[in-house]
Amino acid sequence: MTPSFEQTSPDAKPVFLVERDEAVAVARKLKNDPRWQMDFCSCVTAVDYLKEDYIEVVYHLYSVALKHGPVVLKIRAPRDLAQCEVPSLTPVWRGCEFQEREAYDLFGVRFTGHPDLRRILMWDEFKDHPLRKDYIPPQDYEWEPTPHGEVLTRAKAQGGTIPPSAVVEVKK
């Protein structure tokens, strides 16, 4: 197992770009190897690279025992929601638990092996993942269809997705 090494940052620090199936093994290696001892997983987040068509999950690791760091661990997954999946590192570092839930909530990255993968910041009924670069916010969050005649027919005519109040007629 040799992680590919890539320097992508002006910060001089080791950045490991690892394959998805190697991620857990690399993480365990970094945590348990006496020369690294990366026991503190500080920051977990994801970045949506729309043009390059992948989502990158970024882990910043530090060592409390040896007081060095950071080592950056990057894992890439395709943007397509059905395949957007990376192995969870929560079994390796407990500190990833909430942060991976946040990345799932805001980016739609599914962390396989996560003990409790639910939305954390958005509400449970929310459908989309708002930090994706192609996310389009609804024009009116508080709009709900009402059973009152005209409004309902207009809403139905528009497929019930756009609030009628938000539709502005454009004169030509």
């Binding site: 002006p10 920051c43 570092w93 407990r94 509400w123 708002p130």
Partner: protein, 374 residues
């Protein structure tokens, strides 16, 4: 089947919050109770979620600076510094020495007022209803007055700029800061006389909510909470950002990791902060407070990503920033909020304790919902 002598019991689910004074804001805990004992606890957050990160990605770099004030609204000065530090690291900007000293002064004063109110609120949660908070707020008021005199705002300071700070300290404001620092140790002595050996406080907090050292490291717990559990880790010492390597101060470390230790750690950290402030106010050099080479209009950053972090009063506050080829806005802007991550172990600390202890344990974590939810 005979079940003589056995009373069948049922667990009870209670939702504490989101509008409850003991949850320090709009935070909710779904607690499962067996009698009065907690058997399960699930934190629910997001009630104050504003998608801070997306807002920042749509604005120029500098425009997010006032918004970082709203993360942890107790510590806007340290939030500003963390963001400025991350951008400076990414763009390779140097900061004049005087500005570094001013930042240290502001960050340590922030630590003083944050810890003072945190332990005040903790005692409120223990049942010492509002008297300790008022003692703490009396001192906090002086620090906020100082912030207002310097930055024009008490809490939303918007003070740091890339490559320096917005307003220089003059003789009057420096004298004001010296006055605060002089008065602070007597306040601490008075506060400790009232509280530290208080029997009720000891009974309510000792051996309550113990966080073992190994779990604290594994669960990425940072700041006073980790140090109370015996993790000797302070970013001011490890990273030596700013000019922290020039000051002589100690990192207090706890032993048991219970609520009482978290209370004591904050008292001891305030004493060390006073020590740093005395040295910083003594040694502050003359010179500019802003690097003149940094442009504000059309400010751009070369493509790349970087992570900057500081020891904020609540723990490790970090900013992960990605700049793309245009470099005008952050392509990605992520906040690593200490109080959000410190909540990971809330359930572990509360299991087996009474529901009244949950309130105390949560108070000892010291959360601010502006930062938890962002």
């Amino acid at each position: 089947m005979s079940t003589a002598g056995v009373i069948e019991t049922q667990t009870l689910e209670v939702s504490i919050g989101p509008q409850h004074p003991s949850t320090h804001g709009v935070f909710r805990m779904n607690v499962t109770l067996d009698g009065e004992v907690v058997v399960k606890l699930k934190p629910v957050m997001g009630y104050l979620h504003r998608n801070h990160e997306q807002l920042a990605e749509k604005m120029p770099w500098i425009a997010s600076m006032p918004y970082t004030d709203r993360l942890d609204y107790f510590c806007s000065m340290s939030n500003n510094w963390a963001y400025a530090l991350a951008v400076e690291k990414l763009a390779g900007i140097t900061v004049p020495e005087r500005a570094e000293y001013i930042r240290v002064i502001m960050a340590e004063l922030t630590r003083l007022q944050n810890h003072a109110s945190a332990i005040g609120f903790l005692l409120s949660d223990c049942g010492a209803w509002f008297t300790p908070v008022l003692y703490a707020f009396r001192e906090r008021e002086r620090i906020l007055d100082f912030f207002e005199a310097v930055s024009g705002s008490r809490m939303m300071c918007n003070y740091c700029r890339f490559g320096g700070v917005r307003v220089d300290l003059n003789e009057q404001t420096l004298a004001m800061a010296r006055g605060i620092v002089e008065r602070f140790p007597p306040f601490l002595d008075e506060f400790e006389k009232l509280m530290t050996e208080n029997e009720v406080l000891m009974a309510r907090t000792q051996r309550v909510g113990i966080l073992p050292k190994a779990l604290a490291i594994d669960a990425s717990i940072s700041g006073p909470m980790a140090r109370a559990s015996g993790v000797e880790y302070d970013i001011r010492k490890v990273d030596k950002y700013g000019v922290y390597d020039r000051f002589d101060f100690l990192v207090p470390v706890g032993e048991t990791g219970d609520v009482y230790d978290r209370y004591m750690i904050r008292i001891l950290e305030m004493r060390q902060a006073v020590k740093i402030l005395q040295q910083a106010l003594r040694d502050i050099p003359a010179g500019p407070c802003q690097n003149p080479a940094v442009k504000f209009r059309n400010f751009k950053i070369p493509a790349g990503d970087g992570y900057g972090r500081i020891e904020s009063p609540k723990g490790e506050l970090g900013f992960y920033l990605v700049a793309d080829a245009t470099g005008k806005n952050p392509y990605r802007y992520h906040v690593r909020p200490p109080s959000f991550i410190n909540l990971t172990v809330l359930e572990d600390m509360c299991l087996g304790h009474k529901v009244a202890d949950v309130v105390v344990i949560l108070g000892s974590v010291d959360i601010v919902l502006g930062e938890v939810d962002r």
